[in-house]
């Protein structure tokens, strides 16, 4: 398990991480979302022990990760920069990492390499962006670490390559309970592979939720005989994310199970009551809004 408590980090006097609290369960696929500059890469670099935090703690299976070789051996980090190691061949890259990771499997490496047809003896500099990404992912998976951190891993991959990389991840998740942390600025890109997602903004985790579970955020369109305010619904025990009133129709976004919501709304004797569950994207937008952020600035919908 990854546990981050009150993590703070400033670089050159600028606060990049501003009190991060986060738990990532073993075997889960965690999506770390946020716009460019939100602090995703900085957070990942703390997770793999490259950066030393100013304060707070970063624990991997209960041990502080910075300057801890044993903890670091459990983690492989796939950087979002594709320019490193351009003078290496894939075979040299493999040998380079093999030294650090005792669980490295030649057998798995060969199997993965053959599945994507990457040449062993050509310099990585001659590879396309997608091939470089595949090369490092193959090496990373072959290291058989318990944790794999992917920084913008799907960025620039075409759909076919994305599918291949995804399938490789799935095999490792099933074979050895690999925990994956994957950052992205695009929710749609990673929504189907994550079970949990967290949104970063301005060096903070703005919110975090399970995304493959039962549908749990609903948009209600209701009308009543009487006038009500947002507080009336909050006091009734409803988790109101957004509240709008247009003439006599209320549009209320509520977090919760629909039967419970219905029961509570019925106590207000609605004359019109309609509900739909939200898409993941809408949930994120409303969650951001409820926290006082303008989600459009944060979610990149390209």
């Amino acid at each position: 398990m990854i546990e981050i408590k009150n993590l703070e980090k400033a670089i050159d006097g600028t606060k990049i991480l501003d009190g991060i609290d986060l738990e990532i369960k073993k075997g889960s696929v965690f999506g770390l979302l946020g716009s460019n500059g939100a602090g995703k890469s900085t957070l990942l670099r703390h997770l793999c022990g490259v950066y030393k935090q100013d304060s707070g703690s970063v624990l991997i299976d209960g041990a502080e990760v910075y300057d801890n070789a044993d903890a670091k051996r459990k983690i492989f980090f796939v950087n979002d920069e594709t320019v490193q190691f351009t003078s290496f061949t894939l075979s040299e890259l493999k040998e380079y990492y093999k030294v650090y990771y005792p669980e490295f499997s030649e057998e798995l490496f060969e199997k993965l390499r053959k599945s994507v047809n990457l040449p062993l003896k050509k310099k990585l500099g001659t590879f396309s962006k997608g091939m470089k990404r595949q090369a490092i992912v193959i090496v990373g998976l072959s290291c058989q670490t318990e944790y794999l951190l992917l920084d913008e891993a799907f960025d620039g991959l075409d759909p076919a390559m994305r599918m291949i990389v995804k399938n490789m991840l799935f095999d490792s998740i099933l074979d050895r309970q690999l925990t994956v942390v994957i950052s992205s600025h695009n929710l749609r890109e990673i929504s189907e592979i994550c079970d949990t997602a967290g949104m970063m903004h301005d060096g903070k985790i703005v919110f975090c939720r399970e995304i493959d579970g039962v549908d749990n955020v609903h948009k209600l369109q209701v009308a009543f005989k009487e006038e009500y305010t947002k507080d009336d619904f909050v006091n009734a025990g409803l988790d109101v994310l957004s509240f709008k009133k247009n003439k006599s129709v209320y549009e209320i976004i509520i977090d919760g199970e629909i039967n419970e919501i219905t029961k509570k709304i019925n106590t207000f004797s609605p004359i019109v009551f309609d509900s739909i569950s939200l898409t993941l994207e809408e949930i994120f937008l409303y969650e951001m809004e409820s926290k006082g952020y303008y989600a459009q600035d944060i979610l990149d919908n390209d």
Partner: protein, 119 residues
């Protein structure tokens, strides 16, 4: 055979649950038929295997499928509860659709009675 809609509002896990139940009720999958492994289905659909596993666990908990360790998951003997739940949830969806389209509850209730009479 098992397909899902990634753009849908319905969570993937719930879609899988419904889809597999539907295939069983409609007779596409028969008792003791093997269903795809979690791995195969996750790869085919491109969704997190943990999500697929969760749907399978729920199906197993409700005796819709059973699993044999090391051999995979299979379709259980279909039980009345499964069919009942499926038909009723289908009915609920239709009712919701009708209510949204402005048909009143009274009209729908009358309709049920009429259906009965015409039987």
């Amino acid at each position: 055979m098992i397909s899902i809609d990634l753009q849908s509002r319905v969570p993937i896990y719930e879609q899988l649950y419904k889809k597999i139940t539907e295939l069983i009720i409609k007779g596409v999958l028969a008792e003791n038929d093997q269903i795809p492994s979690v791995r195969a289905l996750a790869k085919e659909l491109g969704v997190n295997p943990n999500t697929v596993a969760k749907a399978y666990q729920e199906l197993e908990r409700n005796n819709i499928i059973y699993s044999l360790s090391g051999r995979g998951s299979f379709v259980s003997k279909i039980n009345d509860g499964t069919i009942r739940n499926y038909i009723l949830s289908d009915f609920d969806d239709s009712v919701n659709g009708a209510l949204k389209a402005g048909i009143t509850r009274e009209e729908l209730k009358r309709r049920i009675d009429e259906v009965k009479e015409n039987d």
